[in-house]
């Protein structure tokens, strides 16, 4: 079983390499990192900020930049996962694969692992580049770059898994669009929840809570934020404010993380079942 899963995973990685997907992503990422390096350089050495201001401005700017990167990671995850099954069914490539002595579930798990490995590589590259460059130009390093990266990856992996599930039933385009739209909706619901908390509107708060359970991308993004916040930033925030789309006071609870684990198992399981029943 491991052998067959590894075969598919290796094939998936090889496809990405051969199709220069990674090269393209790395190119775009380097350009974005360069832009942010220039911005941080201005911020740290431009003389516009006092040293007190810059201890807050640098972490906050990094959070904004990392938010943008989290978006890119999530979009890439959806983009690589949504064609993975759909386009191979459409083209007919899968017909000769699934008629070999391999289980359908092994095909799905192999693809998932291969894509996850690609995503992990990309998330790590983005984090190292961005945080490394910021450290280099401004001397600022967030408190926990490793856990930030892990959350960034987990957020992308969530969307990747969802797109893979959609890909077993929808066309490439539909799976990609639906995956990204749901990701956007979850983020928006997070903002709505924030408004609900801020202005004490129960219904809005509930929407925020529900969306974090149904699609935990926004919850994981707040995990990433937490590890980007130095103590100075935590102290500086007004006590009344718990959460906003770019700030959080506490890391995700164990219960929430356990739920995310259940979510992964459930969605991946659904993808396997769905593919198992799919006529090719």
């Amino acid at each position: 079983m491991i052998y067959r899963i590894r075969t598919i995973a290796a094939l998936t990685i090889r496809e990405a390499a051969r199709r220069r997907l990674l090269a393209a992503l790395v190119g775009i990422t380097v350009a974005m990192v360069g832009l942010s390096a220039w911005g941080f350089d201005r911020l740290a050495h431009g003389g516009a900020l006092t040293s007190g201001e810059s201890t807050l401005a640098l972490p906050q700017s990094l959070i904004l930049f990392m938010f943008m990167f989290s978006f890119v990671v999530a979009l890439s995850a959806s983009a690589i996962a949504s064609p993975s099954v759909a386009s191979e069914i459409e083209s007919g490539v899968l017909m000769t694969v699934v008629t070999r002595p391999i289980r359908r579930g092994e095909v799905i798990i192999g693809k998932w692992l291969g894509l996850a490995a690609l995503l992990a590589g990309y998330a790590a590259a983005v984090s190292v580049l961005e945080m490394g460059v910021v450290d280099w130009v401004s001397g600022y390093l967030p408190p926990n770059p490793v856990l930030t990266t892990v959350y960034l990856f987990a957020e992308g992996l969530l969307l990747l898994t969802l797109a893979l599930l959609l890909s077993t039933r929808m066309s490439t385009l539909a799976a990609g669009v639906v995956g990204i739209a749901l990701f956007g909706a979850a983020w928006l619901a997070g903002v709505v929840g924030f408004l609900g908390t801020t202005f004490g509107i129960g219904a809005l708060r509930t929407i925020g809570r529900i969306s974090r359970v149904v699609l935990p991308t926004d919850g994981l993004w707040h995990g990433a934020i937490y590890y980007l916040e130095p103590p100075s930033l935590l102290r500086a925030h007004s006590l009344g404010q718990n959460e906003n789309p770019f700030f959080t006071r506490s890391p995700p609870s164990w219960v929430y993380l356990a739920w995310v684990g259940v979510w992964f198992v459930a969605v991946l399981g659904a993808a396997i079942l769905s593919f198992d029943r799919r006529e090719i």
Binding site: R4, R18, V93, T96, T99, P101, E279, I280
Partner: protein
């Protein structure tokens, strides 16, 4: 009409002329050899497939013996591809059941001994031909030391040896179909499904495929062949079934299918008056100049027919029995419906 029971016995008898007697309990899945064993290569019972409103396959009962080359004919949309897909577990039947190589359809271990060339053959365009085959060696779990040999043999057979290192993306359609055939033949399968294997091939390629198919027969491999090329079926198949709108309208060996409907052309130099009176008893007839054609004559009755004419004082210069070709029979069958 197709009968399940007769189909079964057909299949067992026509198994490439190899005696079917084997020890009881010798299951297909347990023997690795291509030697025919007790169970037919393919056996279906009431196999049925409905897509929303269209019925693609109507309770099909068919049996294909081991080592047989079985031709599946029928117009576009008759349901040929759907049958193959059901037999491979790609599509789930709405009703009915099927056994392939003695195991239920889709059985994972049995799939190791099945080759498949799809109608829409497509392979990972970013791989080279040799890499596609290597992937399938891996998927088939062939012993690693045998890979290179299997791959080069396969490429050699389908005439792609020189393009082994080229990406599939740059292959012509016919080259891709050749590669598909190479993939289907990899690992020495006991049963091969070929869905219109020559649809994209040039005449030389078609000739090669016919040769390859005959070689498969020599090795006792069962071939299930979907085709529109009736000449191909005529040359290759031990047995054929004609499918129309999901149902079998005729089946049997070619001589069974065609023999019953032979025709005789007669040349008479002297024809006595009223010589045609007895002719209708043998079949429908028509005259064109010196030649008279009688349709649907039982081959055994040709001598009687000639006797009748001679007894009436006629002089018969030539008697040419003609078998109907498959194309004529095919068109006739579809019109009868």
């Amino acid at each position: 009409m197709w009968q399940a029971s007769s189909a079964e016995s057909d299949g067992l008898v026509a198994a490439g002329g190899v005696p079917q007697a084997t020890a009881p309990g010798e299951g297909a899945a347990t023997t690795g050899s291509p030697r025919p064993s007790v169970s037919p290569a393919i056996h279906t019972l009431g196999l049925h497939k409905r897509y929303r409103r269209t019925v693609a396959v109507k309770s099909l009962s068919v049996s294909v013996g081991r080592g047989e080359i079985f031709g599946f004919l029928g117009p576009n949309g008759a349901g040929k591809t759907t049958v193959i897909k059901m037999l491979l577990g790609l599509v789930k039947p709405t009703a009915g059941e099927a056994m392939v190589l003695g195991a239920p359809v889709g059985d994972r271990r049995t799939r190791r001994r099945i080759g498949y060339l799809p109608e829409m053959f497509r392979f990972q365009p970013w791989l080279t031909a040799a890499e596609v085959l290597r992937l399938h060696c891996r998927l088939l779990e062939l012993p690693r030391p045998s890979w290179e040999q299997s791959i080069s043999e396969s490429l050699e057979t389908v005439g792609l040896a020189e393009r082994a290192g080229d990406r599939v993306a740059g292959f012509s359609k016919g080259m891709q179909q050749r590669l598909g055939l190479g993939v289907a033949l990899l690992g020495g399968p006991a049963l091969v499904f070929l869905d219109e294997p020559t649809s994209a091939l040039d005449p030389v390629g078609r000739h090669h495929v016919r040769q390859i198919t005959r070689d498969l027969r020599e090795r006792g491999v069962t071939v299930f062949l979907n085709t529109h090329l009736l000449a191909e079926a005529e040359q290759l198949c031990d047995r054929v079934a004609v499918l129309d709108k999901g149902a079998v309208v005729a089946s049997g060996s070619l001589s069974e299918l065609l023999g019953r409907h032979s025709r005789v052309r007669l040349k008479l130099s002297a024809a006595p008056a009223g010589w045609t009176t007895g002719l209708s008893a043998f079949g429908a007839w028509r005259t064109e100049g010196e030649w008279t054609t009688v349709e649907g004559v039982d081959p055994d009755a040709i001598a009687d027919l000639v006797n009748l004419i001679v007894a009436g004082g006629g002089r018969v210069e030539a008697v040419i029995p003609e078998h109907q070709n498959l194309e004529e029979r095919f068109l006739e069958l579809l019109q009868e419906k």
